[in-house]
Symmetry: C2
Subunit: 546 residues, 2 copies
């Protein structure tokens, strides 16, 4: 359009000057000429107007904002300007008017006409609304168009002015301010189609079901796990894994205050530990190794080696072909073992205090994260008693029998009856957390110490959350003669574990401990309903990737 | 002796009475009789004295102390008296006269005649001298004899009175008090011969070499590792593993203050990561899995999943048949990864500050432990500079060339040259800690970001302690197109790692990180000279037990 030239138009004066020297034209001729002149004048006026418009338009199409937006070159650490970047979480109405710089994901963008675009910018568990409006000399239409075309999940560097928002923006976690964009650059875009949007992946099942008007996309667990990197970006998952960190952090904090030290025991073992059936085999140079099913043997050996109180946080491997909501082939064990002075209830009580420390800590320090998870996975608040409920195995069985379960099927308490017991206990005692003590000897591994009076009963316990086992522990046999005897009676050849047995032959104090499944505690505290949601990159018999 | 009856002796009166009525005896006869009477009298006196002694002795042999010593029945948690037990470390002259109860190992016992025995009692890194002396009604000879016969490394429960010791007892770490034993019971004895004494295992090599008079037993590393449970009981090893705990604790503390969260990535992988040659294969149900050689891929994926700053402490597996002083097949990796804003030096500098935090923390909080280790493994104090020395790879090479190394062999810096460089740097800059930046691209893995100006150089660094590498790190490639290209150029088929590549296709911020070998840092800080000493139960190509 700018290249188009206005048409050449004769002016009204020229014919008059011409006619002054030649013979006068006829009346008709004059009339015709006047008409033509009038027409030409109008055309000229129109053309001039058009020219003006075209000039205006040409001026408008010059992109005066090219430096304020666009794709950044690949960051190879070319320069270091040391410009301060802020966190979305730090924005608030007190910073009204302040210009800030931040890197964030574009969760969604929404254009309003061609002059305005709204972005939802996200960082971990926080989000804020940002907007870009055409402004002379500052924000061009091209800039708005480019911004509106950004793919969801692009990573951008945004410079903007914090503005107090006139009303709370519900679609953002930081809803009392918005960001008026001055500059926006693309740091990293996408080279593939998103398998699902983060918004869809964050939606609660209840919301999907309750809304009849809109047909929301449901993102299934398997799709999520196949595309775990995107799934993990939801505010829900960012919060889940902050809470996972919280659990092990509180675990450590309490144990260190009680004189425990952290150990790291080898996962590669020369012999299959505990039970040969569910152990993974490893090719080890020209021989075979096995993956540790728990740090049980090593932590007991650490006690025989005088460490007195030890804990370990590490992977535990189970080659069990269990495809359930609560089994993984690799999970994180929070294990501890300690010398006892008089009675194994010293350990059991320490574990109990530890759990209450964790629950209290999560409640006090991770309120925002818990609420974020609850928005997607609604859950009644986790409850526990000041004085923890302790049942003996026998008492637990009696409760179930009184509720109608046939005693003959209660040799052991299976998963279904565990949950039933959880409901019974919740109804009767209003707690989601309790202990069962004194399990039958037959249900426990060979290293469990028998009760001093009744050899069919053992000095062992399980801890429960919302009706599911989250810890198993016991006093262990520290006497090598009794230990070898129990090994034999459970079909374990003492010779095959001589390095372990030797530790006790060289003197070991009475001791006990327990092992906690980190993902189970996380799943049950938050009621995530499937343990895979509590593992960063879960492993089960059918899943080894991503 | 007590059963022996005194001989029946006729009294002197009888012969006189007899002789009064019968014929008088001859003079000789009288003389003889007088002599016999004298003899009998002496014998009677002797017998009476003996009887008295025997009675005394019999009285002394009644063991009045049976309740004060002996073997305890096996602790099966029969009772819980809740008696307070103390730590040796808490004993001091201010507690003079106080009766205390404690459980400890008998490190050594030394009888003095049959009335006194000295014990060296040990708890973790502390020891105290205890003594038991025959005392009427309290400590019997039998009690002393029993105590003296306790095997080294027995675990005893001792009640005793704290006494300020007249002079410092050098053989104990708590040398200003001793414990006067009132009661001593055996909690756990030994059912096997000790492979070596803890005293022998604690002796410094320098002491063994410098003492010509005494032939000390040298306990070799392999013997120690075969009997690791006893070896770990030395005060030295108790201190080594407290320091190991210290390193990871300080690592965590610093990173958490910088907004990092702890993650747990799976060790079981569907594909061989990084390099197929040195990866352990695992039988995984009907298929095959691989053990992660590092959390590299997972932690980068966590960055693509928006966790921003993550760390992991976990086992790392290397199927390398390297039988050196510094290689293990399983070790603990202290890994971190973070998004960067402008330049990879942000990560490098954070890692540097982290290390200085660890060094400062160890020095301030683990002085006693460091000294304990130094007694067995003498080491010059670890030194670092306020402003860490940074060399480029090129500068490091130049230093070596200037010292006489042939430049043609410096394509890479091998172990020998690393150590040489460490000595050169120590001599020139007086530091045991420094950084080499900008490694040649060819020496680094495919995911390393090239320098923006010189593609033969990379944005990568190694950190060194006492001339050995303890950390390797870099800026990573976050662009999927460049990443795929680099994979191919290093012979890695992008398709084989699609789950990893996909993470970058869906948008990932610029990032970098590093991996630290926990055992290496521990070994080099303490100058233990062999990495096996820095691992609780070390694993190498030839060792899978204990």
């Amino acid at each position: 359009m700018a290249d188009e030239q206005p048409t050449q138009i004769p002016t009204a004066q020229d014919p008059v000057a011409e006619g002054g020297e030649e013979k006068g034209p006829s009346k008709n001729e004059l009339k015709k000429r006047a008409k033509e002149a009038e027409k030409a004048k109008k055309a000229a006026e129109k053309a001039a107007k058009q020219a003006e418009l075209d000039a205006q338009k040409a001026a408008a199409d010059v992109d005066y904002a090219t430096e304020f937006y666009g794709k950044e070159p690949l960051n190879q650490s070319q320069s270091r300007l040391r410009r301060t970047r802020v966190q979305i979480a730090s924005l608030n109405p007190n910073r009204d008017g302040e210009t800030v710089l931040l890197r964030a994901r574009v969760q969604t963008s929404r254009a309003q006409g061609n002059k305005m675009v709204f972005l939802n910018l996200r960082q971990r568990i926080d989000s804020v609304q940002a907007l870009l409006t055409v402004t002379p000399e500052k924000v061009s239409k091209q800039m708005v168009k480019w911004t509106a075309s950004l793919q969801d999940e692009s990573i951008v560097l945004v410079e903007g002015v914090v503005k107090k928002s006139p009303e709370i923006i519900k679609s953002a976690t930081v809803g009392d301010v918005e960001l008026h964009i001055i500059q926006i650059h693309l740091i990293a875009g996408l080279e593939a189609r998103l398998p699902f949007t983060v918004e869809d992946a964050t939606r609660a099942e209840t919301e999907i079901e309750s809304t009849a008007e809109v047909q929301y996309k449901r993102v299934l667990l398997d799709t999520r796990l196949n595309n775990r990197v995107v799934d993990l970006r939801t505010i829900t998952n960012q919060a889940v894994f902050k809470l996972q960190h919280g659990i092990s952090s509180l675990f450590r904090q309490y144990l260190e205050s009680q004189g425990f030290i952290e150990i790291h025991s080898p996962k590669l073992q020369g012999a299959a530990t505990e039970s040969g059936a569910s152990v993974f085999k490893v090719s080890y140079f020209k021989g075979t190794a096995f993956l540790a099913q728990s740090p049980q043997l090593a932590k007991q050996m650490a006690i025989a080696a005088d460490f007195e109180r030890v804990y370990e946080i590490g992977p535990v491997f189970r080659a069990e072909d269990s495809n359930t909501h609560r089994h993984l082939t690799e999970f994180i064990g929070l294990d501890l073992e300690m010398a006892i002075e008089e009675h194994y209830h010293e350990v059991m009580e320490l574990l109990d205090t530890l759990f209450k420390h964790i629950f209290t800590g999560l409640k006090a320090q991770y309120k925002q994260e818990t609420e974020a998870v609850n928005r997607q996975y609604p859950a009644d608040e986790f409850k526990w008693l000041e004085e923890t409920l302790r049942l003996t195995f026998k008492e637990a069985v009696d409760l179930l029998v009184a509720d109608g379960v046939d005693r003959s099927e209660l040799f052991d308490i299976n998963t279904e009856n565990e949950k039933r017991l959880g409901r019974l206990v919740k109804a009767k005692y209003d707690t989601d957390y309790f202990i069962i003590d004194k399990f039958p000897m037959e249900l426990r591994p060979f290293y469990t110490m028998p009760d001093p009076e009744d050899p069919t009963v053992s000095n062992s316990y399980d801890f429960f959350m919302r009706g599911e086992e989250i810890l198993s522990g016991a006093q262990r046999i520290h006497d090598p003669i009794l230990l070898a005897e129990k090994m034999k009676s459970k079909g374990v050849e003492p010779e095959s574990m001589s390095f372990y047995l030797d530790a006790f032959k060289l003197g070991c104090p009475p001791h006990g401990g327990g092992g906690i499944g980190l993902e189970r505690v996380l799943m049950l505290f938050l009621k995530l309903n499937n343990i895979r949601r509590a593992s960063l990159f879960p492993r089960d018999p059918k899943r080894l990737e991503p």
